[in-house]
Point group: C2
Chain length 335, copies 2
Amino acid sequence: MSQSASGTRRPTIREVARLAGVSHQTVSRFLHDDPRISAQTRERIRTAIDQLDYRPNLVARAMRGRKTGRLAFILPTGTTVSSLEILAGATAAAHDAGYILDVVTLGGPVAERSGRVHELAESGLFEGIASLMPLPESAQRQHERTAIVISPEYDDQMRSIGELADAAPVAELIEGLAELGHRRFVHLAGDYAHTSARRRRDMYLATIPRLGLESHGVIDCDWSAELAEQAMLELPVGAATAVIAGNDVVAAGALRGAFTRGWRVPEDVSITGWDNNKLGAVLSPTITTVIMAHERLGRRAITRLLAALNDAPDPVDDEPVGTVVWRESTGPAPS
Amino acid sequence: MSQSASGTRRPTIREVARLAGVSHQTVSRFLHDDPRISAQTRERIRTAIDQLDYRPNLVARAMRGRKTGRLAFILPTGTTVSSLEILAGATAAAHDAGYILDVVTLGGPVAERSGRVHELAESGLFEGIASLMPLPESAQRQHERTAIVISPEYDDQMRSIGELADAAPVAELIEGLAELGHRRFVHLAGDYAHTSARRRRDMYLATIPRLGLESHGVIDCDWSAELAEQAMLELPVGAATAVIAGNDVVAAGALRGAFTRGWRVPEDVSITGWDNNKLGAVLSPTITTVIMAHERLGRRAITRLLAALNDAPDPVDDEPVGTVVWRESTGPAPS
DNA sequence: TGGACGGTAGTGATCGGTCACATGGGCGTC
DNA sequence: GACGCCCATGTGACCGATCACTACCGTCCA
């Protein structure tokens, strides 16, 4: 553990070999846990490595062989909060498998992105690349050494798609509310430019008739609290006892509108949100919401990549990504 | 732009050279925009590169020279929201300077972190490393090729310190409230394990006497809405007309407590938060809060790193990182 | 006419590992 | 005792770029 002469070039495998009195190749074998190496030699090399504070040069290692122990994780720039949890999951999964994960944020025009991906894939730095955004066709073609796995969770405009846009919990919310006696619903939708907003709307529109419920319709709220508040103010009396809001911000706006009209929540009207905003658990009432398992998405993307690296079939993971959390903003329908 | 024979090794600089009828070194010069190369040769090489779809191997390039065009950005694992904005700023700054930024998340015990940093620094992959967390002494010693810049925003336990913990806005909040006629304050502090919580408390304790105001004291709320609510419920009547909460969640808890007691906000009591939680702008009343310029922090970290790489002096940036946003939860003091 | 000089281009070494193959000693078998 | 085999280790080429030198050619000036 003693330090090497400071300011000096760092030691190479050959210097370690000389100090240990073996060949450089034997040191290389030691670094790869080759079982054929004798205990005595092993110990001498270990000592030499410690003494020189030697660490392998990853660049050189990556040059000859192909094992770099590194994966690239492409994250769209300009995304929101959630990506960080995705990132945490991905990092953990990579680490579990003995890999280091490099996160490369990617944005800008399609052509530029395509070039960057090419560069990454052919740079020889990475064994595999996982992307959370769709990549141009040209960037996906087979690269010799680098596996590329796309888990499309964001689109070109960095809006969530894929599983992040999975709207299954909408059905769960409606079913739960129906069990509580609700019959008349309204949906305060998000910005339709977002796939997730469209999916939630579609799921709403499909679930209502499936359960034989009534809908006052879908009101476009564009992820805006103000529009949601306005919508609540204009809602005909008795039109709905349950409001499915596009996300927590919309739900908070709806809450505000409901209060303005003197409606109690959930006694007079139930309201649901989406995203599990921290403040939503503190409001009066606390907001029933949907937690998206972002971390698991990240983990899954890496799992898929590792499978691809080993030519294994794509692993299946059927667990739902969204989980409903029932809180105070929902309750039995008014009688 | 035609594709190379698929499945085949990708082309090297020598193959390009052969096709162009020049030496490999001339191709290398072309890639580096060497001005001494003749227009005719330049054109021949360009054609050959296009034809083979050649891309330089970054690993090989990094091996001989030291220019890799890559910077590493060390991000603590398990952090909150804000890191993503920091990341966005850092990525943008790196990109502006022609660098690619690799984000490496780092967690686990100190010893392991130290090892990873060493590995990164000596791997030869990066020209510089910017870290948002303090690194063990051993990891900071001079590395031959790799500059390391620490912008300590998080401590060992991934709690924000440094500029993220800059509490100057606390003074601004108190001054603003004093101008509105408030004389009696109380502080609902965050978890003291966090430097940011301690700094806000210290700034509170320093500002109150400086302005000749009264303080009911500091109540430890541990970043918890429940504790804040409790604190409000136990607050003696008339003890304070202004509540400085540790963050938005604490402020929301305080709000809840105030409502329970029948106090109107801001007519009877003013409450401030911190963090600019999106829902805070939707609540009734909307919460006065502090926006931290996370993106600029990231940008600044990279700027400092680039300066270090060029042996330039550390750039100064005096702009404040926190900005107060006055909203409905604060108003004139009750008469 | 010759030599210095500047602009182009080429040659071979080199970075620090890993791979493929060679070597030599000990042991079991016929 | 000769042979074959396995085990532990050594030798030299090689990955794909860049670096430091060298070589060539034409021009200009003494």
